[in-house]
Symmetry: C2
Subunit: 325 residues, 2 copies
């Protein structure tokens, strides 16, 4: 039987000794890690101990997050049972990867997310598609608590908000987002230090890789489309992470006149990963769907079982017929 | 005789029909243009008409600013007299270039600035070195006025705040800065559109130039120093603006482990412009001073009458003796 909970803010129902787990999606980003750490550190103060679980290794740039060393890789064999499992920043169970099993090991699943596509897989679902980030939502849940003056928690929240809004640039940034940032700064976070970790810590090789890629990018369709194709050998040569490879698409999108940026990343001889970014009106989620992929209006992706060269030709044709360019 | 003015907020002393000019510094940036436009549009509502004056052509990326077409190049021969001249974002009179003459044509000079080095050249000096930007100060002066719900004015203010804080990243960003951004968003500014103009409108050639430069940058002193040297021919080949050339230094500074980034731009055969950026502790204003230049702790510059190759050698020696690397 589920204990009677405050469904708007289940955190208020927690008590010392409750067994609590927190988990986020595979390929963790700043908002997923920021939100599980911020909520994890908060609930620790209430419950005494919580298990913060992840599916993958923590990407280098997020290793500065306070408390991140206490996050553990989920062990499906542990058989541990939980009173509450908080799932953060996760639109559906499949994005939990192998730690999906945790949902069966938990009496109450609390699903906290800002994706409009969330499929309400929790016992309690707190979904706000207008929030810039899950961290913005976590702020709302803990803002009146005694631990809101904790710099570590504030640092985690700021990280998620900053990364999910492209540092206050994307149109999910609202007046509320800035108000929250103001409050986090008042708590005493060091934005200089956070920004250095998030945005000023590319390796020399990765910057040279970026240079090589930008110097060689191709435009088509009257400059409205820019395509970057990255052979496997290039990634090996420059020793760049997946994160860094995929980040270059934003530089391409930001070129004047470009409406769609495409990244074609060679995975194997006949397998490529496609990434799409749109600057304004083109809905690239539909474009990705044409290749069996998906995503958002302005950012989407798909996998294609073709060679790099074949993929370029197919994409060119698809753009001509699909968007009419 | 100067009319008795409200020295904390001289705007409150202005009346319809007062003859008002606004001016900013040479080589205008986002904060100088944002602040003269925001204050200019505001005072227009009070005085009926104002003259918004600039020294140089408006850089392409700022041409979207509302009302910017009404800004005129200062004409020293005009001989016009003003009751008030508002000088914005300008640390001393020399930065006014040839429009310094305007100060003599004005009964009351109001100096509004956030540079700590401001030399108080006005009759009224409103200086706040804690403000992120002059736009943040202009917001403070007009926030209680009836025109604060004007989207055009808010757009100009946001532009200055965003560009002077590196879009809320630099350590001049405070809780107040974010609170103001929240208020400007509430007025209804379109940050998507503003950001597109400011940050997503590089030309294809300029992006390829950036790529070329990053792919070829050199590190020294155990990776703590990164140097970019840009021959004149390269700028001509890629047709890049000065603005775009000088912007590449930030990418160099953001590399992991780099403490000082140096840009050496060839102006003529034996004349180079040096730019310095520091990430943390090194005070590059002192380094610039060694070459007869100056600036801030984290951003400075100088001119050197040497060839590109000679400049590289001299810099290397100076770094070894001066910083001890």
């Amino acid at each position: 039987m589920m204990k009677q909970m405050n469904k708007k803010n289940p955190i208020l129902s927690l008590r010392h000794g409750d067994r609590v787990a927190l988990i986020s999606h595979v390929n963790p980003d700043g908002d997923s890690l920021g939100s599980i750490m911020a909520l994890g550190l908060s609930l620790e103060k209430v419950c005494g101990h919580v298990d913060i679980l992840v599916n993958d290794d923590i990407p280098e740039r997020y290793k500065f997050l306070p408390g991140i060393n206490s996050a553990q890789l989920y062990n499906a064999e542990s058989g541990l049972l939980y009173d509450y499992c908080f799932v953060l920043d996760c639109g559906d169970e499949t994005r939990l990867g192998y730690s999906k099993k945790l949902l069966e090991q938990s009496r109450t699943v609390v699903n906290i997310d800002h994706h409009i596509s969330n499929n309400m897989f929790g016992h309690i679902n707190i979904i706000d598609s207008k929030a810039s980030s899950t961290c913005e939502m976590v702020f709302g849940l803990i803002k009146d608590s005694f631990f809101m003056d904790d710099v570590d928690i504030a640092t985690c929240l700021y990280t998620g908000i900053s990364t999910d809004t492209g540092n206050f640039v994307y149109d999910n940034t609202s007046a509320k987002t800035h108000k929250i940032a103001a409050k986090l700064l008042k708590v005493g976070i060091d934005i200089q230090d956070i920004s250095e970790h998030l945005y000023q810590s590319r390796s020399l090789k990765s910057v040279k890789f970026l240079g090589h890629v930008l110097n060689n990018l191709q435009t088509s369709h009257d400059g409205k489309v820019v395509t970057i194709s990255i052979p496997r050998a290039l990634r090996v040569e420059f020793e760049v992470s997946e994160d860094e490879v995929e980040g270059v698409i934003n530089y391409a999108r930001d070129i004047k006149g470009v409406e769609v940026a495409i990244l074609i990343k060679e995975l194997e001889a006949d397998k490529v990963k496609l990434g799409f970014r749109s600057k304004k009106d083109v809905d690239v989620s539909k474009l990705a769907l044409e290749f069996g992929g998906g995503g958002h209006k302005k950012a989407s992706g798909a996998t294609l079982y073709k060679s790099l060269d074949e993929a370029i030709i197919i994409l060119d044709e698809k753009l001509s017929t699909y968007i009419g360019w």
